[in-house]
């Protein structure tokens, strides 16, 4: 399948960007957060993206992060936006609610869902989609993304299974994306996921993704780390993969660390620092597609927050096209 043709979509989405977006459905989409927020002042840069460096909000990070908000970031960058996982916060009270409110009041919010199972073999849970909508509206979420995969059979398995790259799957997934977009009253972004097996494919991963984006008229969350992981595990050229993506549909990007098992096997853990090949690939995406808001995902083996901010600084250098430091440029942890 050929690379998807360019589609007239604005390539950024933020509070204040255009209110009209060519979509195939007829209602007015809430393209800005319900309560537009003051964006933090971005350090001088020539990027056209209003917020470029984002950090995934995690329960394990909130306490330390709150302290930094109060004490200041020193010479390290403050994240320009956050990404939250709705399933980890929705409907909760107590400290969860307090912490979520603390951050959503201070930052532009992107949301990255886990349990929609957009490619699932059983019926979509539309009651859950309704609860999601309430969450997205309450938090003023700018972009909502999900995984182009499935996580259910007759119940939830809470992790990502690969959708077979077949024409039948393209049809099924697109029909479901359209229903979800219709219900959420917004365009959603789907993420290229890392996969470790692919039963009976009829097309390549790039062809599958392009077909889905085009036919469901949705956006792409381009996970740079996943491109690298899959390119190693399945032996393809990661740069060519990025070049094959429809640039105008890329809403935002992810980077993360992984676990290298061998020359030919990587597990996508989000539990280590971002590796050099992934930084290089981010630079390639920046050169190919232009700057996009990019989120650092860290889900385990958490280092001190200052180490993650060092990675955000590196990310900022790449996205803003300024001189690259090395991730190690962050103030070193003093060890005795």
């Amino acid at each position: 399948m050929a690379r998807a043709s360019a589609v007239a979509l604005p390539d950024v989405s933020s509070p204040g960007d255009g209110l009209t977006r060519p979509l195939r459905y007829s209602y007015n989409l809430p393209l800005v957060p319900r309560a537009p927020r003051e964006l933090p002042v971005t350090p001088a840069s020539n990027t056209t993206v209003p917020h470029s460096i984002g950090l995934g909000l995690r329960r394990s990070l909130v306490e330390e992060w709150r302290d930094l908000e109060q004490q200041g970031y020193g010479n390290q960058p403050r994240p320009e936006f956050i990404e939250v996982t709705p399933e980890n916060w929705m409907g909760l009270g107590g400290k969860f609610r307090r912490n979520l409110a603390y951050f959503t009041e201070r930052y532009p919010v992107y949301a990255h869902g886990l349990s929609l199972s957009i490619g699932g073999p059983t019926e979509l849970d539309m009651a859950f989609v309704d609860r999601l909508k309430t969450f997205l509206d309450d938090c003023g979420v700018i972009e909502f993304s999900e995984h182009l995969s499935y996580c259910t059979d007759h119940g939830h398995l809470y992790d990502l299974m690969p959708i077979p790259f077949t024409e039948a799957a393209v049809q099924r997934v697109c029909e479901r994306i359209l229903r979800v977009q219709d219900r959420l009253k917004r365009q959603i972004a789907l993420e290229n996921v890392s996969f470790y097996a692919m039963p009976a494919p009829e097309m390549t991963e790039a062809e599958f993704i392009c077909a889905v984006l085009e036919r469901a008229d949705c956006k792409l969350l381009l996970d740079i780390n996943n491109v690298w992981v899959n390119s190693v595990n399945h032996g393809y050229d990661p740069k060519a993969f990025i070049e094959a993506m429809p640039g105008a549909r890329v809403a935002y990007q992810h980077i993360a660390g992984h676990l290298q098992i061998s020359d030919r096997q990587i597990i996508d853990t989000h539990g280590t620092d971002v590796s050099d090949p992934v930084w290089d690939l981010l630079a390639h995406a920046q050169a190919t597609l232009g700057p996009r808001p990019t989120v650092l995902e860290r889900d385990g083996n958490f280092p001190p927050l200052s180490s993650l901010l060092g990675e955000l600084a590196e990310m900022g250098h790449i996205l803003n096209g300024t001189a690259r430091g090395t991730p190690g440029d962050a103030p070193a942890e003093i060890t005795v």
């Binding site: 009270g93 609610r97 859950f128 059979d153 939830h156 039963p199």
Partner: protein
């Protein structure tokens, strides 16, 4: 080309193969090693959650029995909640429906797990939509929405690696969120528990209504019961488990005892 039905069957079979490592399913283009990666990732994910939700049960049962139990749950139970962190509640419900005796498992296991996840219940509970009653409505009583109240047949709060009960012993336990949003634990009398259960079932009737109902059931005088329960009630107000604007805390005696250890 794959049909819709073939797609669905393949996806269900793939998930089933992940749930059950003993299934000898083969998929075109998928090596056993690749399938093993999925089995391991999914299993680790499940285990990380339930290990941290039920540390006492895991400790007491030992790694092998615990893993066997999780494996059965994983294979047999299609979890319905999209929220990963709520899954321990489904595990507690599932184990409550199992025949523990036939499975060679301790009879108190389901109650222990219920008590372990009660702490999560108190942490997660959304705030009440209604503000505590104000004004002259002294009969209305506000109950903390985070309150998890349990009457158990076994003293589950004392179970640990070094001690397990050999006979049942009615044990009433509760946990709730404090004003500082931390979790606190209480051991209650059966009478206090009965009163709170009545209040939870019919909050509109208020404390007076619940006391009257309880007195009727016991064949006692309501006023006498109210007097004897007063210190307990005062303690609940003090802790913020109960609230309304006409009661102030600061009472003398507390029959509600903090359990010394978290479950």
């Amino acid at each position: 080309m794959q049909s819709q039905q073939e797609l669905q069957e393949m996806q269900l079979a793939f998930a089933a193969a992940i749930r059950d490592p003993d299934l000898d399913t083969h998929f075109p283009n998928v090596s056993p090693e690749q399938l093993a990666v999925y089995r391991e990732l999914f299993w680790d994910n499940l285990k990380a959650l339930l290990d941290s939700a039920c540390p006492v049960a895991r400790d007491v049962l030992g790694q092998d029995t615990w893993n066997m139990l999780l494996g059965r749950f994983w294979k047999e139970h299609p979890a319905s909640t999209p929220e990963y962190t709520r899954m321990p509640f489904e595990f507690a419900d599932w184990i409550a429906g199992q025949n523990l005796e036939d499975g060679g498992l301790p009879l108190w296991l389901a109650e222990l797990i219920r008590w372990e996840v009660a702490e999560l219940g108190a942490m997660f509970a959304p705030e009440s939509k209604d503000a505590p009653p104000t004004g002259s409505d002294i009969s209305a009583t506000h109950i903390a929405p985070s309150l998890q109240l349990h009457a158990f047949a076994w003293p589950v709060h004392r179970i640990g690696k070094n001690w397990q009960p050999s006979s049942p012993e009615t044990t009433c336990l509760a946990c709730y969120r404090t004003a500082e949003l931390d979790i606190a634990f209480m051991e209650l009398t059966p009478l206090g528990t009965a009163l709170l259960e009545l209040l939870l079932a019919e909050p509109e009737a208020g404390l007076a209504g619940a006391t009257r109902q309880l007195a009727d059931a016991m064949g006692t005088d309501a006023t006498a019961l109210e007097t004897s329960m007063a210190p307990f009630i005062d303690d609940l107000y003090e802790r913020g488990v109960l609230g309304n604007t006409h009661r102030k805390g600061g009472m003398e005696h507390s029959p509600a005892i903090d359990t010394s250890e978290n479950p």
